[in-house]
């Protein structure tokens, strides 16, 4: 930098020159820090022009005019949305000339003035002009309607103050909308499927819809039309059209003006697509279900220079972009109302495949029972066969406990699941019980003794058991009172001197600097919750809020939003990540083929069966225990002493001994 400044010949710089130098250094730092562009101090024929970018509202033509003053321009790259451009001159001398001559040049663009700063770069990174394809399932059909049809359709949409009752018209914050067929409600981002608007779709749309049908773009005629009108500078926030509201294919006709629609994949990929006037956008499959689409509110779009009204991705050739002033665009979006839950392959963004609104942490007994019935009992009943297929290896320390029991001991396994502990010690008379009849059935088929019962009311006589185990059960109770009652019930079953082993899931999945198997194991299937491995986008840790936002539809992000909730909701856990709260809903991805015997029962925690590889998602309630919590709870039960308390692979574990006899109603000994 010093050397190049010296080339100006000014040893004593004026105040203006110093200011310019400071600004220029700052600009080159910004480029490095935010864009990874390294500038060099020696003159080259390549320069980066800070502030001279499309993102700053500088048009390609205006910039080129200035650049030409310094010499012959070989190429000019104007990356979309960026506040800079790259220019390559025919020679280093010309580059040097531009550097000295044009640095600090003010450029008048539209309504504003920008100051250009130049820095040398070694070369222009051609990667920056890498092309990207359209999102899968997306197509733009140019000139789908004739200018005459366009005019007719625009006249059909009467924006006069609404007097008829066949449509619903609203002025939203950022655009005007009008609905035909069904009203799209922006409060719940859905439609009242049993309240169609009289009149249906305008007859003027028939011809073009029949054309869509004949050309195979759709297989069934749409029954809902939303007309949006965007003035220059208006837009629509990124959204995915509510899955449960509409069927797969969505058509959108652009009338009056072109625009640029931004498509974004949850992994961050972004594609800007030009929608020319009179073109039809067809969104199917992945582009309809997974990618968000939106229109950035602005007055100018970056479009290909080749101006022939071309559609498609416009990031393919950076030397070929310029600005286009937006006009008033009217879009006609045709959708087909969906009458069954969505069964797409993208559950992470599907409102049909996740609980519509997670329940809040219960306080009252009745709420707790309802929560557990829905998010524990019902779920285990439905996932039993898949669940059982993932539960085969006993945990070593539980096995050790069972093998330590003297021959002839009577053991109760309260919450026995598929009975994987009932046969560990054949010298012991083992009886299991579980809330899930399907899981008990599996135990019986394996030749074990088991019955269906609730862990809070076990129908075994008091003091009859030499040992009890409760493995991964008590964390499913949703209040502290119920968790402790479950421990009291275990103790009731024990004879004096009998021992109980209790395992619950730990909040601390990292203990003594060691990560639990649950956190570590992302592929093998031996740990407690191993089958909950997700193979979708959902597996990446995302704040809940972000997931909610992804799910939001139309104007949800700005018009209502999730901030209005007052009740604390149970957090939906992201599998294989650390717990962020103690009360959680943990997703279970049902593998359909493992669940052939499943009944047709359906609950709100359950998504529909899927015809692709991805099964429905269930959510189980968990209360994960903090260090000391289980032990404290056990100490609060009379007549027991804690023999040991330990952490085992992400679980808190306590071994108890019953010290005092309790005379309860069922005590017959």
């Amino acid at each position: 930098m010093e050397r190049s400044m010296d080339s100006t010949g000014a040893v004593r710089r004026t105040k203006e020159e110093k200011k310019l130098l400071r600004r220029q250094i700052k600009a080159s730092h910004t480029l490095l820090k935010h864009e990874g562009i390294s500038t060099v101090s020696h003159p080259t024929k390549h320069l980066v022009v800070s502030n001279g970018g499309l993102g700053n509202g500088v048009s390609r033509e205006a910039l080129l005019e200035v650049l030409k003053e310094a010499g012959t321009v070989e190429s000019l790259l104007t990356p979309p949305g960026k506040p800079y451009a790259f220019v390559t001159y025919s020679s280093t001398e010309a580059g040097q000339n531009a550097y000295t001559l044009l640095n600090g040049r003010a450029l008048q663009c539209h309504d504003q003035s920008v100051t250009l700063y130049f820095s040398y770069v070694e070369k222009v990174d051609s990667d920056r002009s890498a092309s990207c394809a359209l999102p899968p399932g997306l197509s733009v059909l140019e000139d789908f309607v004739s200018p005459e049809e366009e005019l007719q359709l625009l006249q059909t949409v009467d924006w006069m103050p609404d007097t008829d009752d066949v449509t619903v018209q609203k002025a939203l914050k950022h655009r005007r909308v009008k609905h035909y067929g069904y009203e799209f409600r922006y409060d719940n981002n859905n439609v009242d499927k049993d309240k169609p608007l009289p009149g249906g779709l305008p007859a003027e749309c028939d011809a073009l819809l029949q054309r869509c049908l004949a050309d195979g773009h759709i297989s069934v005629l749409p029954d809902q039309l939303t007309v949006n009108q965007y003035q220059s500078g208006q837009g629509i926030p990124p959204h995915v059209d509510t899955h449960s509201a509409f069927e797969d294919t969505i058509l959108s006709l652009s009338l009056g003006a072109k625009t640029v629609m931004d498509f974004k994949h949850p992994d961050g990929r972004s594609v800007a697509v030009v929608l020319p006037e009179r073109s039809l956008l067809v969104m199917k499959g992945e582009s309809r279900y997974l990618w968000t689409h939106g229109i950035t509110p602005r007055k100018f779009d970056v479009v290909p220079v080749s101006e022939a009204g071309g559609s498609g991705v416009m990031t393919s050739d950076l030397s070929n972009l310029t600005l286009s002033r937006r006009g008033t665009r009217t879009s006609l979006t045709f959708r087909k109302i969906r009458h069954t839950p969505c069964n797409c392959a993208y559950p992470s963004v599907c409102d049909s495949q996740r609980p519509p609104s997670p329940p809040s942490v219960p306080v009252a007994e009745g709420d707790a029972c309802r929560l557990e019935a829905q998010y524990v009992h019902q779920v285990y009943e439905e996932i039993s066969s898949h669940f059982s297929s993932t539960r085969h290896s006993p945990w070593p320390q539980v096995r050790d406990f069972l093998l330590s029991l003297p021959p002839g001991s009577i053991l109760a396994d309260v919450g026995c699941g598929n009975g994987k502990y009932l046969g560990i010690n054949p010298e012991v008379m083992s009886v299991g019980c579980d809330r899930s009849a399907n899981l008990v059935q599996i135990c019986i088929e394996r030749g074990y003794e088991a019955f269906v019962s609730d862990a809070l009311s076990v129908p075994l006589r008091s003091g009859g058991c030499d040992a009890c185990i409760s493995i991964a059960v008590i964390h499913h109770f949703s209040t502290q009172e119920r968790r402790q009652a479950a421990i009291r019930e275990l103790v009731r079953l024990l004879k004096v001197g009998g021992r109980a082993l209790i395992y619950v899931w730990a909040m601390e999945q990292e203990y003594n600097n060691k990560k639990s198997k649950y956190l570590k194991e992302r592929t093998t299937e031996t740990s407690m919750e191993s089958s909950e491995e997700l193979k979708t986008e959902e597996n990446k840790s995302k704040p809940q809020e972000e997931q909610d936002r992804k799910l939001s539809s139309d104007v949800k992000c700005t018009e209502d939003g999730f901030g209005s909730m007052t009740q604390p909701r149970i957090h939906i856990h992201t599998n294989r990540t650390a717990f962020v709260s103690q009360d959680l809903l943990v997703p279970w991805h049902l593998k359909s083929n493992a669940d052939k015997n499943k009944g047709a029962a359906s609950g709100s925690t359950k998504g529909p069966m899927d015809n692709t590889s991805q099964g429905p998602v269930f959510h189980r309630y968990y209360h994960v225990f903090q260090q000391g919590e289980l032990e404290d709870m056990c100490c609060g039960v009379t007549g027991v002493k804690v023999l040991r308390s330990y952490h085992d692979q992400g679980n808190w574990c306590v071994e108890l001994e019953k010290t005092l006899s309790n005379s309860l109603k069922n005590d017959i000994a």
Partner: protein, 91 residues
């Protein structure tokens, strides 16, 4: 459900004080041949409620039927060998 399990089971219907032993009403039973394990039996005997065992001895393994609370009369169904001891709300 085998007799040893029956010997452990009791009615847990609210308010019931004499819920033991449960009355067996079987429609399908199975006799399973087992090798006599003198050691196991001798260890089990002191843990069992003898009177209940004698009473139940005429049944062997219940596949279909029900268990009935001797006091309240509440029946708990046994289906495919699975006794369902779940109570309804308020029971």
């Amino acid at each position: 459900m085998k007799l040893l399990t029956h010997n452990m089971l009791t009615s847990h219907v609210k308010g019931v004080t004499k819920g033991y032993p449960l009355i067996i009403k079987a429609t399908e039973v199975k006799v399973s041949e087992l090798e006599f394990n003198a050691q196991f039996v001798s260890r089990m005997i002191p843990k069992l409620e003898w009177s209940a065992l004698i009473q139940a001895a005429e049944w062997v393994e219940v596949i279909e039927g029900c268990l009935q609370c001797p006091e309240s009369g509440r029946e708990f169904p046994i289906s495919k060998g699975v006794p369902n001891m779940l109570l309804n709300d308020g029971e």
